[in-house]
Symmetry: C2
Subunit: 433 residues, 2 copies
């Protein structure tokens, strides 16, 4: 029997893990030079360059590429009611989850008279990027726009490439509308990132850019960090790891693997299961379920990049999972909460049989913009934190300085920074002025 998941391995030794779990490398020509050119053009020629790229890449040649109030209005009337209702419900859940992420630290008196605190302040100007392509990713509008709005960002702009008909999909516009996004521009790719980084006559410059994108967008985001523009995180192809035990439902597992695989040919799915017999049941389910999928060819290609591993030691399985650091981790276990304490590296975790990744992709409330490619070892997904800075404050009283001053003066002297020491001494001498 030929399997869809090409590689099945039983209890691989630790030394082999990194080879077995290597992410697919998209390869292809080096795109750095192309992207650097686009950045330079947009930086130097602004809107003119944007319009030329719009014409060349998206067949959109109009001088005015901002979405008008009229277009926005039409989009809202165009969208079917059931979809509007679903988007509003998802938006409510996402808002509920994200709104208590904003926590200010209470002031701490580190020594008598030495008061220190931290204040969350919104990043004033942020840019969201929403890719075009085969499907309108309006869910990403919610996932970026809602936390930006809760953070209190003053200017939230959005760039997305125009469709063939010259419009942005109404679902994207509707999601933007209910999320408080102020301005929307029809521009995609590296040129969109450049426009938001450097600003043009039409597109305002922002301080941080978030959102998914293809390799050109990712390269552009990485490059503009050199100019001090912040980005959410480096991005790679999407991935899921499903950890299933004996009691898991093979048809649920197959459905979860396929829902990741349909994202793109470079998606990766990993299955950890108890034994060969379980894997075989999953394969049978994959074959059955593939039949109804419009994106079956994409899913089949993605499965070829993928791997199933049978492991009979669950603690070792957890080590492997933490080594891989999956973007999405589905714990299809009888006692999933027992394992929460052992999860060290993952983007978002789905516990139990009735928590498919799709729930978090759209509407459970958690964010779906997550670290891929093993970056979950050091990065978090997008949250309200992504749209704020935390400024520290301190206020020392004259008495406080009498306690703190000598500590500072001693340390400054040892670091040979005499002016630092003097800034303390001159105050201690004029304490009661």
């Amino acid at each position: 029997m030929t399997s869809f998941i090409k590689c099945f391995i039983e209890n691989p030794p630790k030394a082999d893990w990194s080879k077995i779990l290597a992410r697919p490398n998209p390869g292809g020509a080096d795109i750095a030079a192309t992207v650097a050119d686009i950045l330079t053009e947009v930086k130097n020629r602004g809107d003119r360059a944007v319009i030329e790229y719009n014409t060349r890449f998206d067949g959109y040649s109009k001088d005015n590429f901002e979405v008008s109030a009229q277009e926005m209005k039409e989009a809202i009337t165009l969208l079917p009611d059931n979809l509007k209702e679903a988007i509003i419900q998802a938006s409510k859940n996402i808002t509920l989850f994200h709104e208590n992420q904003l926590v200010d630290q209470q002031p701490v008196e580190t020594m008598p008279g030495v008061l220190c605190w931290r204040k969350s302040v919104p990043i004033e100007k942020v840019g969201l990027y929403i890719p075009g392509g085969t499907a309108p990713l309006f869910s990403s509008v919610l996932m970026l726009g809602i936390p930006a709005n809760i953070a209190g960002c003053k200017e939230i702009i959005l760039c997305s490439p125009p469709q063939k008909d010259g419009n942005i999909h109404p679902a994207i516009l509707f999601a933007a509308h209910i999320t408080g996004i102020t301005r929307i521009f029809k521009v995609g790719g590296a040129q969109a990132i450049a426009a938001m980084a450097f600003g043009t006559d039409t597109v305002p410059a922002v301080y941080k850019i978030t959102g998914p994108g293809n390799r050109y967008v990712t390269e552009a985001k990485q490059m503009i960090t050199k100019y001090g523009i912040a980005i959410d995180m480096p991005a790679g192809p999407s991935e899921v790891l499903v950890f299933a035990d004996e009691g898991a439902n093979p048809s649920f597992v197959a459905a979860d693997l396929l829902s990741q695989a349909e994202h793109g040919e470079d998606s990766q799915v990993v299955l950890i299961c108890p034994h060969r017999a379980f894997f075989d049941l999953v394969e049978i389910e994959i074959e059955k379920q593939l039949k109804v999928l419009p994106r079956r060819e994409i899913a089949i290609k993605a499965l070829e990049n993928s791997v199933a591993i049978a492991m009979n030691d669950s603690s070792l399985a957890m080590d492997l999972i933490n080594d891989y650091a999956p973007e999405h981790l589905i714990m299809a276990l009888r006692n999933p909460t027992d394992f929460v304490k052992d999860i060290r590296n993952a983007g978002s975790v789905f516990l139990g049989d009735f928590t498919p990744e799709a729930a978090g992709d759209y509407a459970s409330g958690t964010n779906h913009t997550l670290p891929t490619n093993g970056f979950a070892k050091a990065f978090s997904g997008v949250s309200v934190d992504s749209f704020i800075k935390k400024i520290t404050f301190q206020q020392v009283s004259p008495t406080g300085l009498e306690l703190l001053g000598p500590v500072v003066a001693t340390m400054a002297a040892a670091e040979q920074l005499e002016a630092h020491r003097q800034a303390i001494l001159i105050r201690l001498e004029n304490n009661g002025r």
Copy 2:
């Protein structure tokens, strides 16, 4: 009268602000190629390359470049008691301030049966970089090591270039010792960043690298982000902005400006003051205080990069401050807390006459690793947040999925992701299995 601060301007129009407040550009040859070479050499040849760079750049040619337990012990005995006590007191304050930064989000039930939460998990392996140079920056060891330790990072390593005598300064070793840093390596510059990013036989690879450094270190940190290694933030020369009102003490203001200026020739200080007469008093104080400074030549050069601005509208002054986004902001005002609400962009803020920057540089409790170069518009300083990831979790009950499922299915259909929809439907069909 020639002034030390070369540029004095009264009430400049908004259009001129960005020109007046332009950061000094260090210029110099392009170092990207040199740094890329060093990264490649260390990646390919590991310890051999590190030892060669150690020999070439720091005159240290020993094969073993890890600090031994014996060296650590000696350092502790070498250090004068008053310095040890000061470091311990600073460490207590920094710990007090940082330890309540670790907040877990309470679970949120976004819909009945849909439970979502966020868990802070330490980044397992982190690397700290401490520059060498004219003075031993042991305070930075505290500022990076303490939050990493509070976060719960398992492996905290430190790289710092050896001094001429082949040792790392005992104050750095002592600060590392009390901070729980497990391993220390004598290696500096881009080669240290490369060793921590890629790992060598001696230096373990880490997931995140934090800490200050010169242009080579900064370039190397930026480059290794391409490999998914996280960094704290892009770094530039240090800077302070002092906002003084009529009642401020010119000698305190001068001392604060000088304590920033002595950091390096490329430091920048900005003074906002009520009028020319105040500026003149500050200049007189600068002249007087410069006399006792060993690093006076450096300070004089830095002042040449600097600017004083008289502004008679304090609300406009706040706009200018937010435009500049200073790393350090000293509010030498009679009513500094009234202005806290207007501060949108700054790294760390020092309120009132008795809160010099030096307090926060060493021991008030706040962190001194802060965004420079205007990056405070989008970046925060180092905190416990810098050493954790936040993993999201969700658990949906069968009943929860009955409520949430239709929302997800509708959205998935609209995004043309049928497998996502199927992952919901197959569960709703097998809900009571």
